[in-house]
């Protein structure tokens, strides 16, 4: 029997869709700032495998000579990013949603199963639940990355006034590298996230907009369509 099952509460959907453009603009303005001292590369000694970023990249998307504008956007939007993140964390704790989001003792094994399945190396599909082990780990990790971005960001924004934080993170130069690496992390998260949402299909994507998912629930009793509430104790 098919049911509309409530999946994502309205608050979580808002936090998600507010965060998406804000994080994009943070990364964009961050690139304007990074351009002014684009010192990072992957390589060793005189060998450079990849330079962050090639001149053509800056020119292609007009990222150059916008340091002041980048800082203005970054230091305004940081408040939106911070407050939205804070509300999200507060909401997940007060509503009990954290139970689906935090990894538990099964999550690591599940995450391996999910990964093997998604790569086509394992036939059996993982147990259907609101968030599988891989998702729990990924969504908790990206939240911790958000905290990391705020802390490393604060350390490079006010390295003297928050000198204790800056030295805790290894100094001004190190904190800037950490802030940059976390940003690369978001980009990688985004790529995998969008690919997985694409794979999971329309029903799953719609749930992040409309809140519900259609589920075909085997029944022994009442026939006919019903509206159902997700039962947390069964699906936790």
């Amino acid at each position: 029997m098919k049911k509309l099952v409530e999946k994502h509460p309205l608050a979580i959907r808002w936090f998600h869709w507010v965060n998406f453009p804000v994080l994009m603009l943070m990364i964009w303005s961050g690139l304007w700032i990074y351009w002014a001292n684009d010192a990072y590369r992957i390589g060793w000694g005189n060998t450079t495998l990849y330079k962050f970023f090639p001149q053509s990249f800056y020119q292609f998307v007009h990222l150059d000579h916008k340091l002041a504008q980048g800082m203005a956007w970054h230091f305004v939007l940081m408040w939106v990013f911070f407050i939205n993140g804070l509300l999200y964390v507060g909401y997940t704790f007060l509503s009990g949603e954290w139970r689906y989001l935090l990894p538990n003792r099964h999550s690591f094994r599940e995450a391996i199963e999910v990964t093997l399945h998604d790569l086509g190396l394992r036939k059996a599909a993982p147990l259907v639940q609101k968030y599988n082990g891989a998702q729990r780990i990924a969504y908790t990790a990206v939240l911790l990355m958000g905290v990391g971005s705020l802390l490393t960001g604060l350390a490079i924004y006010k390295p003297t006034q928050f000198g204790w934080l800056t030295s805790l993170l290894g100094g001004y130069g190190a904190a800037r590298v950490e802030h940059f690496v976390l940003t690369i992390g978001y980009v990688l998260f985004f790529v995998v996230h969008v690919a997985q949402v694409g794979r999971a299909g329309w029903n799953n994507f719609r749930s992040m907009v409309a809140g519900f998912e259609i589920e075909d629930v085997p029944t022994g009793g009442a026939a006919g369509p019903v509206l159902a509430q997700r039962e947390p104790n069964k699906r936790g």
Partner: protein
Amino acid sequence: MDQKPIPPHVSPDGEDLRLPPGSALDREATRRTRRSFIGLGLAGLGGVLGWRYLLNRPQIEGVPAPFRQVLNANGRLTQAYLRETRLAPEFAKSQGVAKVRTNGSAGLTSALDPAAWRMVVQPYGGGKAQEFTLADIQALPRVEMTTELKCIEGWSIVVNWAGARFSDFLAKYPLASRSGQPVKDIANPPADLAPYVGITTPDEKYYVGLDMPTVLHPQTLLCYEINGQPLSLAHGAPLRLVTPLKYGIKHLKRIGTIAFADTKPADYWAEQGYDWYASH
């Protein structure tokens, strides 16, 4: 690994999720889906229009007004957190770099006659501008410190500086208060002290504004030496400002004129969209 696209009505496990057409459930799903996507679309449109509206407000110092207001609030917040007693971390002299990077030459392009150079100070209480030679500044207690200079571009270097505390200058020369009292104790300055100080190069092509707590900070120096050597021309000979609670853009080279003010003095980089406070 077969990657056939999943049709919208099929779950990843191959379940057919089509609802009986025209059923109450189907109508409910359609209604909620339509409503939610229209809501998201409108929210997105509102976000784009709102963001564009904010970006197109009249500019204040190179930044749209609402952004400038938030940046100023950020500045006030950090000013409130800042204490005169909070010091920038100091390093061992040996950690200072031997070759100190120079960045920018605005205000340094005109010719300089070191013998004729004077630092001109306009007293807050009015009256005739006073002139000071380098020897006058060097007669004040010499303070040496090794701090990290942070450029707003995102790089930093540890530099060994020496000079006189700005506050020692104002202790000896009572120019910053209306009633002509000296700053004997930086924690307890005269009540009628000027709230702001503006400094320009002799050719007035580079200029910075500072608030009085920054000026009185014990690490704010009228600096005449780097690594124990007199300043080079590129580093701001004969006298420059060093204030390690601020980005390098506030470390004006080749001091020309100092004036006290009731409102935020003009600032070269703030006019081009950077934070006026530039504290870090």
